[in-house]
């Protein structure tokens, strides 16, 4: 990256020029009345052109210095004819500005070195937490909506299942279930939820429910509910009794 002259790497033509100015112990403003510019051109010439990309800026600066030098020999342009700023003045200003930044860079380097004397610890390898689920948005309403979707789909699946190849013995005829319900309500009322077995099959549920409806229609059972979300209680109706209506 750097242009190496006399074992020192220069970060650019301005850097080299400043170095030469420093070595000559002159002020930046006196650059053109000193040997510095000649030294610069000689150094660039001597260094050779190993890397054109890199050297081009140094060469360009050499050209600028030559231009300034040649102008100084020519008679000064007449007043008012000068359209652009004198390249010598421009270069001096650029050198001054660059020199300030170089000085700042030196200070920053000290900061950098000081900061390099403190060490941080590597972050602990903290195991990622088990994902906790945001259930805030999930309400009973949402649950029920999901429920509705599932049951809608389950209904669709009912048909193919009915025509499936496995035909199970129908243990749940409506008549059978009516008898079952009546037997279970003989000693008193029965919560609706206890009507079914622990893991009721679809068939069982449907048949039991139809049986219940039939018994209600016949007035042999009645149902009551204490509170809105409470359990439905099944008990013997006005026309209860043991008589068994065969279907």
């Amino acid at each position: 990256m750097a242009f190496v002259v006399e074992a020192r790497a220069f970060s650019g033509p301005l850097d080299l020029l400043l170095h030469l100015i420093g070595s000559a112990k002159i002020d930046i403003k006196d650059i053109f009345v000193s040997q510095v510019t000649d030294q610069y051109i000689a150094l660039v010439h001597k260094a050779g052109m190993l890397d054109m990309e890199e050297a081009s800026e140094f060469i360009q600066m050499a050209a600028t210095l030559l231009l300034i030098k040649s102008r100084s020999i020519l008679p000064p342009p007449q007043e008012g004819q000068e359209e652009e700023e004198d390249p010598g003045t421009l270069l001096i200003r650029q050198l001054e500005e660059y020199a300030r930044f170089q000085q700042l860079a030196g200070q920053m380097q000290e900061f950098e070195q000081a900061a390099a004397r403190v060490f941080a610890k590597l972050p602990d390898e903290y195991p990622l937490p088990p994902v906790t689920y945001e259930l805030e948005g999930l309400t009973l309403k949402g649950l029920m909506a999901a429920f509705a979707r599932v049951s809608a789909r389950a209904r669709e699946q009912l048909a193919p299942q009915a025509s499936g190849s496995v035909i199970r013995l129908d243990q749940h005829s409506v008549a059978h279930c009516m008898g079952h319900i009546l037997r279970r309500t003989r000693r008193g009322s029965l919560p609706f939820t206890e009507l079914f077995s622990q893991t009721p099959t679809r068939n069982e549920v449907v048949t039991l429910f139809l049986a219940l409806l039939e018994l209600l229609k016949q007035g042999r059972l009645r149902v009551s509910q204490q509170e809105a979300q409470g359990d439905i209680i099944i008990s013997r109706g006005s026309r209860g009794g043991e008589q068994h209506h065969a279907q």
């Binding site: 060490f119 941080a120 610890k121 590597l122 602990d124 903290y126 195991p127 990622l128 937490p129 088990p130 994902v131 906790t132 689920y133 945001e134 259930l135 948005g137 999930l138 309400t139 009973l140 309403k141 949402g142 649950l143 029920m144 909506a145 999901a146 429920f147 509705a148 979707r149 599932v150 049951s151 809608a152 789909r153 389950a154 209904r155 699946q157 009912l158 609706f192 939820t193 079914f196 622990q198 893991t199 009721p200 679809r202 549920v205 449907v206 429910f209 139809l210 979300q229 409470g230 359990d231």
Partner: protein, 186 residues
């Protein structure tokens, strides 16, 4: 080297290391004997007992390590383990609903309703603590039975499963039987 500096240097070394360091390594680096290192470690240990210190020394065999104080772990986790929030997927939600209404229920039974494989969603619901394994059904293969947990109830603000609402009216057209079937309380 003053004793205080020794303590400080050890703290600095243990901090940057983060890992356990042998007492002998410390002794070598400090140019002190093991006794001096031991003394400094004890001073560090004692200093760490203050509430205002968030670190503690962990010692094992002849190694020593600086670790954060167990008491403050909750706060450390809060910063470094930001909670990964995620909502339940559609399929997890459906599975959960079926388990809730049909519990205890086997995977096969859930799958029969949903019409898709449910191993993954059951597993993830169990991981989230919303359902749990409550035994095995005494049928062929003794499949696992799933039921909802207390956490499930508490999330939905229910005191018991009996409070699960029956199917919303109107959302379903027709087929009251099927609706009832689905709404069965176990």
């Amino acid at each position: 080297m003053r004793n205080d500096r020794l303590v400080g240097i050890i703290e600095a070394i243990l901090y940057v290391s983060g890992e356990a360091i042998a007492l002998s390594t410390l002794a070598d680096a400090l140019g002190h004997g093991l006794e001096a290192v031991e003394q400094a470690l004890q001073a560090l240990e004692q200093a760490c007992q203050e509430d205002a210190r968030g670190l503690q020394l962990k010692r094992f065999a002849d190694q020593v390590q600086l670790v954060s104080k167990a008491d403050y772990a909750t706060y450390v986790e809060r910063v470094l383990q930001p909670v990964q929030r995620q909502t339940l997927s559609q399929s997890a939600l459906e599975t959960l609903v079926i388990v809730a209404y049909r519990q205890p229920v086997t995977r096969q039974e859930v799958e029969a309703v949903r019409g898709v494989k449910c191993d993954y969603s059951l597993q993830s619901l169990a991981q989230k603590g919303l359902i749990r394994d409550v035994g095995r059904k005494e049928t062929l293969g003794r499949p696992i039975l799933y039921a909802t947990t207390d956490q499930f109830l508490s999330h939905f603000g229910l005191t018991s499963l009996k409070e699960l609402p029956s199917l919303p009216e109107g959302t379903q057209e027709g087929n009251g039987q099927e609706q009832l079937y689905m709404a069965i309380d176990p």
